[in-house]
């Protein structure tokens, strides 16, 4: 007998509470039955839906709430799909295309190209050599294909994150109101466990399409570049904006000639973070059928193959270090605002 039983009978709702639904017996009730007494519990349990349902069957259970959300989502799904599918289809094409390019280009062309790109970006010999050694090391232990797959995914997702993230950051820097409304959303995307927003994504998009894991990665990784673009532009010293205004620059000229170049260190830091977060998502992406080093990590976990998991994990770390060094060196090279020492 709980407080709520007394409450409902006091309110005269006992009859109304008896609903048609056949009650589902819980294990607790069954063990009480076995012992031959009424199920005992605290007199004043917390007022949750399930506890109230015990006293009054008309009160919905919490699982009805979760089911309700699911029903609602399923009902909205067709409409959402017709809107979202065409918009996100290019993402699938890009991911599939990049995968094809990275996988089918023979290694003796691919590796020099990658080294050349890192040289062009960083103009740093140690970094380029490190890139070459790391990739060849991974290839040596027969992880070349997976490495290329992961690289292609990170490449596409980072590019899209930057292409969309920088303009959003610029828009945010222009409008305090926009910043106020977007910041909670960005916080949500960064802290909500990725599995939680994977679930609706799996419902919305077919698991066999690459855009599923593409969107999962982008939603997580786009946040730093948006934040840091907004921050970088806002932090540009007002004296430069004032000078630009004094000589009659319009908004576009101010953005391209003053704000973006001066915000570039922060924007590049954002890009660097975005790359790192894309890599961090690699294993989770593999849970929803992304190829690459993540698959090996998962295999290691499932079969308790320690070595497989560790090698793949080291591979991911090596990729992270390569991409981090190259992007940082590229930043140093293009940042003309700092004296060279």
């Amino acid at each position: 007998m709980t407080l709520y039983d007394k409450l409902f009978s006091f309110l005269g709702l006992s009859d109304w509470c008896k609903s048609e639904n056949k009650a589902i017996i819980s294990l607790k009730d069954l063990s009480a039955q076995a012992a031959g007494k009424e199920a005992s519990g605290p007199f004043f349990p917390i007022p949750s839906l399930d506890n109230l349902n015990e006293s009054c069957s008309r009160v919905i259970k919490s699982r009805d709430v979760t089911n309700g959300i699911e029903e609602g989502f399923l009902a909205a799904k067709p409409a959402l799909k017709t809107v979202l599918d065409p918009i996100t289809q290019p993402l699938s094409w890009m991911l599939d295309g990049a995968l094809w390019v990275f996988e089918s280009t023979p290694w003796f062309i691919m590796v020099p190209i990658l080294v050349a790109i890192s040289w062009y970006a960083s103009h740093s010999r140690p970094v380029s050599i490190f890139v070459a050694i790391s990739i060849m090391l991974l290839a040596f232990v027969d992880h070349y294909d997976e490495t290329m797959q992961t690289l292609s995914i990170v490449f596409v997702c980072t590019t899209i994150s930057v292409v969309f993230g920088v303009p959003i950051g610029i828009a945010m820097s222009n409008s305090d109101r926009l910043q106020r409304s977007l910041l909670p959303l960005l916080d949500l995307l960064q802290t909500l466990p990725t599995f939680v927003y994977l679930i609706p994504l799996i419902f919305l998009f077919s698991v066999t399409e690459s855009k599923l894991y593409g969107i999962a990665i982008i939603l997580y990784a786009i946040v730093p570049v948006i934040r840091l673009t907004d921050l970088g532009i806002r932090l540009v010293d007002y004296e430069f904006i004032e000078a630009a205004n004094a000589f009659g620059m319009n908004d576009r000229q101010k953005l391209i000639r003053v704000k973006l170049p001066l915000a570039l260190p922060n924007i590049m830091a954002g890009v660097n973070q975005t790359i790192m977060m894309s890599l961090a998502m690699v294993v989770i992406a593999s849970l929803v059928s992304a190829p690459g080093l993540g698959v090996n990590v998962l295999r290691g976990i499932r079969n308790l193959e320690l070595g497989v998991g560790i090698i793949a994990g080291i591979g991911i770390v090596l990729l992270a270090v390569i991409l981090d060094r190259v992007s940082k060196a590229a930043l140093k090279r293009i940042d003309k605002t700092r004296p060279k020492d």
Partner: protein, 352 residues
Amino acid sequence: MTQTMVSLRGIYKIFGPNDKELLHHVQNGMGKEELMEKYKHILALNNINIDIQAEKITVVMGLSGSGKSTLIRHLNRLIEPTEGEICLLGEDLTVLSEVDIRKTRQEMMSMVFQKFALLPHETVLKNVGMPLSVRGMDEADCDKEASKWIDRVGLKGYEDSYPWQLSGGMQQRVGVARALTANTPIMLMDEAFSALDPLIRTDIQDLLLELQKELQKTIIFITHDLDEALKLADYLVILKDGYVVQQGEPQHILMNPNDPYIEDFVSDINRARVLRVRSIMAPLGDGKLPLDAHGEVDVNDTLESMILRSGGDTSHTYVVKDGGKTVGTLDMNELVRALVPRVASETTTRQS
């Protein structure tokens, strides 16, 4: 014939969210402290009326908090007035649209800043050419024009350097070159030399005066340094707490301060070096020249040079000439009297 280039009429500026609503309080006499205390708003400019003459250097002077930086930014509407008109050659700038005010800034006004405000990621050449490229001129022409001015301010050879590679004085010369490249009739200079060392400052002040002789721009110059003001000003405006205490020809202000504040302000200067003959001469009234004149002096000679010339003899008189024309006489006794700082008399005291 001097022409009014820019006219500030009834300019008020209050900083705060309810500036327009609180304006009438100020117009009815509420002061800066009271506004701050009661309404947490800052009264920056209080009924400013100034006429800026074309092709002359107008210096706006004041201590910190006097409103001078705010004032200069009203001229190109970097700051919007709470109330008042800014008339450029008769046209009120306050009613112009965004696009039009930008055009005005591009074509009519350039600015030099205290902290130089050079774009650190661009070379000196690009920085100097910036006003022209903003207007849409193609790169080659911008560079050509910029090179010319870089040379003119004495920085030839530094075109491809970056601002961080230059000293403070050189950076400000770049700033001046940039403003000159804009080729605008008006130049706004916001404490442009305050960040420089004294010797460098003197050099660049001389450079400015030299350029002015050649270019005759309408310059509005802000400073807190009285010596600088007196050296550069054709017309001097002294601000305190957002209102104009006195404005006029520097010589006139020195001879006729209208406020104890002004007296205090000018008390320390070397009057002999600053005051000129024209400020203390007696104009030629009835055409009669003194018979015992010791010589001829120029209307713009300093009193100091007169003391040297006369050997300290106060009995001398001189004929004052302006060019070839005789314009007045100078009595050495008057000169000695002028050396003593003036006190605001009943006639000259400011009616506030």
